[in-house]
């Protein structure tokens, strides 16, 4: 009992220390702040947006930024700020669901391929190689074109694009882990294959995917916005950042704010994930913490 309590308190202290190390990293901290602002926007969109995102007001069309409409209005008199706030919800939803789906499905393939090896590994790895033969954005565009418009299909297309990446990363980690003594010990104790894979190996291979998931999250936001911008993702009048940018193209000369603010929002969202992934890499990679460098000389 006492030992268990001591173990728990030790793991709690460890977690707190890890959190402190992560938060002390300036990159992670700034990325986290931007990410939290986005989360507040996404979760509290209904309460914090000053207007209804779909509400049209033909007396206030194409108005520039003002106190009433800080980001201006579009051709239907809709408030850009309110649409931008609601757009955060869609962008984050698509990014999180697609990357989570890619992680789960790709991770399963990676676990199976890495653990069983042999022809199962060969077949799965070759199948994954097929997806790596396309530029990511191009594959997403082709899949979205075939699947059709809409949030669901855009999410599915992005998940398919990133699924092989997670399969490859997890397969690599499993190949190392399955040779470890704790796996041999579990086998000797008669643990089932399912228990070894999910109970023993999975918790040990999941951490290297965290950085990758953060990087992929930023790409997912970019791809969703690109698909919507091209007219292959979320369709108007739903307020997606990409769709808003597409709508702004026609009015670029007379109302540039329609294009400026959604683009800034996309950039900041992507930047948040890039900052966090860079920070995680710095903290987790001991070599990058103390790099040998040339003398600091102008």
């Amino acid at each position: 009992m006492l030992t268990q309590g001591r173990e728990q308190s030790r793991s709690g202290t460890g977690r707190r220390m890890a959190a402190r190390i992560f938060l002390r990293n300036k990159l992670i901290f700034s990325g986290l702040i931007i990410f939290l602002i986005m989360m507040v926007q996404a979760l509290g969109a209904n309460w914090i947006s000053p207007y209804e995102p779909f509400k049209q007001n033909y007396r206030e069309t194409l108005q520039g930024p003002s106190w009433q409409h800080p980001f201006g209005t579009d051709r239907f008199g809709r408030d850009i700020l309110s649409r931008e706030i609601h757009g955060a919800r869609i962008s984050l939803r698509v990014a999180v669901i697609s990357i989570l789906a890619a992680l789960v499905v790709g991770g399963m393939f990676g676990l199976v391929a890495g653990y069983f090896g042999g022809w199962i590994d060969l077949v799965i790895s070759r199948c994954m190689d097929i997806f790596f033969s396309f530029p990511a954005m191009f594959l997403a565009i082709a899949l979205a074109a075939m699947l059709g418009n809409g949030e669901g299909n855009a999410t599915l297309a992005i998940a398919i694009v990133y699924m092989p990446l997670f399969a490859r990363i997890i397969r690599g980690s499993v190949l190392t882990e399955r040779e470890q003594e704790y796996v041999t010990a579990s086998m000797a104790l008669g643990a089932s294959t399912v228990r070894i894979i999910f109970g023993q190996i999975l918790p040990n291979v999941i951490s290297p995917t965290v950085v990758q998931a953060a990087i992929c999250m930023s790409y997912a936001i970019l791809i969703e916005a690109a698909l919507s911008y091209l007219g292959l993702g979320i369709q108007p009048p739903i307020p997606s950042w990409g769709t808003m940018l597409n709508e702004g193209r026609t009015y670029l000369e007379v109302a540039p704010w329609i294009s400026i603010f959604p683009g800034l929002a996309i950039m900041l969202a992507v930047l948040a994930f890039n900052l966090m992934s860079d920070g995680f890499r710095d903290v987790l990679d001991p070599r990058s913490r103390r790099r040998p460098g040339a003398p600091a000389k102008g």
Partner: protein, 319 residues
């Protein structure tokens, strides 16, 4: 030693062919994802067509055959260089792709040039001032470069340089051989736009590799011999640090190919990317299918070339 290289070459080509086989299946099956039947896609769902017409169309396109036979016919045609006929224009898919390829090729090469011209010097600048304010500013700029959505960057470049400052000509494409100067003027903004993220990636890679190399003994020896810092960095360190950067550049070609659809659409350039997009909206699926396969082929060949070049550039690599 050379037999090892030949062995690797054969293995690598065989593995590429195997992947190509898988790619062909995936691209073929993509057409099966389309909602509704292909005949409906050609005629439209509202069209009043008799059953006989539908059957004759199915026979004409070979859709009455089992799916594996359809695939075999398709692959046979591809092997003969027949990528199919565009439903909308009636022209050959390969002919259409080849007509639009020069614009895409030029854009990709120029963007790669922009990426190298900005990325390598910025990486050297950052690495030689490691952990100082200029290094931090360059790193933040590289992160911003990676985070910029190409379509927004393109829109902003058009807004600033074409609409507000009137420095750039109207987006009216002119071929390189018609008017080289005007062509390069027109391609400046799209190339910068497409190359920015790659420049950021190359900058980060150059910085990381150069920092690694600058800590090596032979660099210390070069400094101890009294060589100037410029000589040490450019003649000794950068020559070794640039090798992984070239690999990254190969990967970047793939990234650039992914971005062509968006950039060509923003700047209304008549390249393969825009051809694909118009084919998507016109539901010209053989053209979409052919173009996707073509891009995958180019991408795979580029990766193969980079792998092989890597061994030529770095004599330390043995197979």
């Amino acid at each position: 030693m050379s037999s090892n290289i030949w062995g690797y070459l054969v293995r690598r080509i065989l593995s590429t062919l195997l992947t190509l086989f898988g790619v062909s299946i995936l691209v073929f099956l993509m057409l099966q994802l389309i909602p509704g039947t292909v005949v409906e896609q050609i005629m439209g769902t509202d069209a009043m067509v008799t059953k006989e017409t539908v059957e004759s169309l199915k026979t004409f396109f070979g859709l009455d055959q089992p799916i594996h036979i359809q695939y075999l016919h398709w692959v046979q045609n591809i092997a003969r260089g027949n990528f199919g006929i565009s439903w909308r224009t009636g022209k050959t898919v390969l002919g259409l792709i080849l007509d639009h390829l020069p614009v895409t090729g030029e854009l990709t090469l120029l963007a790669l040039g922009v990426a190298f011209l900005i990325g390598v010097p910025a990486g050297v600048f950052s690495a030689t001032r490691s952990n100082t304010a200029p290094d931090n500013v360059t790193r933040v700029l590289s992160l911003l470069g990676l985070s910029l959505p190409v379509f927004w960057q393109g829109t902003m470049l058009i807004l600033i340089f074409s609409l507000l400052l009137r420095w750039m000509p109207a987006l009216d494409y002119v071929g390189f051989f018609e008017d080289p100067l005007r062509n390069l003027q027109l391609m400046a903004m799209p190339s910068i736009c497409l190359g920015t993220a790659s420049a950021a990636m190359i900058m980060r890679m150059t910085r990381a590799c150069l920092l690694e190399v600058l800590g090596q003994d032979y660099v210390r020896t070069a400094r101890a011999k009294g060589l100037g810092e410029r000589m040490v960095v450019y003649r000794h360190a950068l020559r070794n640090a640039i090798i992984p950067v070239i690999t990254v550049a190969g990967v970047q070609v793939g990234y650039l190919l992914g971005g062509i659809v968006v950039v060509e659409e923003v700047f209304t350039l008549p390249g393969v990317g825009r051809l694909v997009l118009s084919a998507i909206f016109n539901r010209d699926y053989p053209l979409v299918q052919g173009a996707v396969l073509f891009i995958a082929l180019v991408f795979m060949l580029t990766n193969l070339l980079v792998d092989l070049l890597y061994s030529v550039i770095d004599p330390r690599i043995r197979y």
